[in-house]
Symmetry: C2
Subunit: 353 residues, 2 copies
């Protein structure tokens, strides 16, 4: 009933074959998306869903709207349309849409099927894959949710053509993370080319490899009891920087890039990662994440420390520090807050690297 | 991760051994209960939970409060107390408490463990067993929820000593339902003795058998794809009578008793149930459910028809009519609304049986 999804179906223009890409239950589709995404790609998804009668449910897809109230809106709409057990949900959008739509599917009639059609690079590489659904609580990110694996994920890179640059860069950072953690060869191919890939929008090959890494790790440990935690590489400090307000509007992937830079420096000191490589890759990630933004917005050491502590409580010890002993070889390590802060300073100060 | 629970632990005074009855994760207990239950049995459960540090979360346990908002209250309290993955929930109360506490457990940190300590006969026989969790929506009962099986259920019949009479009778009806569906010998033992068992509070033996039936059927079909639906015996018409307002304050079990009476009459006509037995048992159930209440509150045929139709939509075809070919031998049948209404009239009219 609830295990890892089949491998994602990937390909340019593949959304047109959505009807034959997967098996579906016999009922209607509940298309969950946002006004912005439907403005850009409504015609494509409506045409792709013409194989079945469907109901559109639009949600606010800003991170701040990823709440239980937002999910309640989806549930209300589905119940008002007399949802049945053989209906299914199609999540069409970025990570906020798939997190909320998947969560709604998991609690409607004690669980109906859902399918993901991600439209952002981040959602294609990460959010739509792996069955984690949920919402944020004012006091804590991602504390409310379920594991409810999509019955199919269709990745059509054509949707990326309309993606804003910052969002594309953010996705690139998550892709690099997946490869550093689980695909040394893929990581080597990306190394030194982050800016170029962002400029050329050239991440399709790396995206495929990142999806494969994520799918493999999720298959090994679907419910994150152990091995799956390595996907948190870069997220310990990254998330603390995000919540400490490092740089105005720091995107998630940018924060993760900074977190990976710090984790690479610590990896060279603590887990045998080759030092020259660590320094070079950390420098590239740090430059890529900051992309010319003003260093004066750098948060104080105290603010980052407070955010690290808050996160540690909020993740309830489930997000241990992940380092690398070499590309593709993650290790769990015990890193103190002060060690993270020292590494953060080296990353964040303009003269640090 | 999510499969049928181990068999319930049953015994007088067994709540005192709660700490050794099951394996628990290493964290704290979140005790979810209601003010009324804690007034009566707070000392017993606090003492039983003294093996672990615990946090009390009280909810309104009326059916009308079984909403997403109610569950949100549990989630807020758990998050405010910094819930961790190795914490667990203990649901202490009747069916509303276990439905909401189990649902909260299923979405906290994508699922933490829960344990049931039911205090009502209905919850002991039915609600706490089987992993169905959830809340009602204004437009539809039980449309929002999950399957999240408790890691242990402890049934201590001593809690029944304080149960109001109507609630005890309601539980007796659900017990009789389980036996009619899955334990012919147990059903025969109860037959003709409903009033006596209610007066003597003598259902312990029947309760044990009912729990065994429910556990067996749930093991065979945990996620209610097929076989488990037979547990809906008596619920098609029963629920329609409940929502049509048949008799003021009709208790759930009383409505189910009336529904079983009608289903037995239809079983003799449609599926070979011996007619004299059907008539006698239906008469007993009907008398037991009405227990001297005023026949003038009987709802109109139109009101019951409307409720049947609404339910059919709301249960989305998942609650088919269940008849019996003999005690212990349920069959799924196709019964029209008018057939249910004819049977309802025979049950509800004072001269009907």
């Amino acid at each position: 009933v609830n295990g890892p999804s089949p491998p994602a179906v990937v390909g340019s223009g593949r959304v047109r074959a959505l009807g034959t890409a997967f098996e579906y239950p016999e009922g209607r589709a509940f298309l969950v998306s946002s006004p912005g995404v439907m403005d850009l790609h409504g015609a494509a998804i409506r045409s792709a869903l013409s194989f079945r009668s469907f109901v559109e449910i639009l949600v606010d897809d800003r991170e701040i709207a990823k709440t239980l109230r937002g999910v309640e809106g989806i549930l209300e709409a589905a119940i008002a349309s007399e949802v049945r057990r053989d209906d299914f949900v199609v999540a069409f959008g970025g990570g906020v849409v798939s997190d909320m739509a998947g969560f709604a599917a998991s609690v409607l009639l004690r669980g109906i099927r859902w399918y993901g059609v991600p439209t952002t690079l981040l959602a294609m590489a990460d959010a739509a894959i792996g069955g984690k659904t949920g919402v944020d609580h004012p006091a804590a990110k991602n504390q409310i949710g379920t594991f409810h694996f999509p019955s199919g994920v269709l990745v059509d890179p054509d949707f990326l053509e309309t993606l804003p640059e910052r969002a594309y860069r953010s996705g690139l950072a998550e892709i690099y993370k997946a490869l550093l953690v689980g695909d040394a060869e893929g990581a080597e191919e990306m190394r030194g080319r982050l800016e170029e890939l962002a400029r050329l929008r050239g991440a399709r090959r790396a995206l495929l490899r990142a999806i494969a890494v994520k799918e493999r790790i999720v298959r090994e440990d679907p419910f994150e009891s152990d091995r799956r935690r390595v996907l948190n590489f870069g997220h310990t400090l990254g998330h603390a920087l995000e919540t400490a307000g490092a740089y105005r509007d720091l995107a998630h992937g940018e924060a993760v890039a900074l977190g990976m830079a710090a984790a690479l420096l610590l990896s060279s000191e603590r887990s045998g990662y080759p030092e020259p490589d660590a320094r070079a890759q950390a420098a590239e990630l740090s430059r890529f994440a900051r992309a010319g933004r003003a260093p004066e917005l750098c948060p104080s050491r105290d603010a980052i420390r407070a955010a690290l502590r808050r996160d540690k409580k909020n993740t309830a010890g489930r997000a241990p520090a992940v380092l690398l002993s070499r590309p593709g070889a993650p290790v769990i390590a015990d890193i103190s807050d002060e060690e993270w802060l020292d590494a953060a300073e080296r990353i964040l100060l303009p003269t640090g690297l």
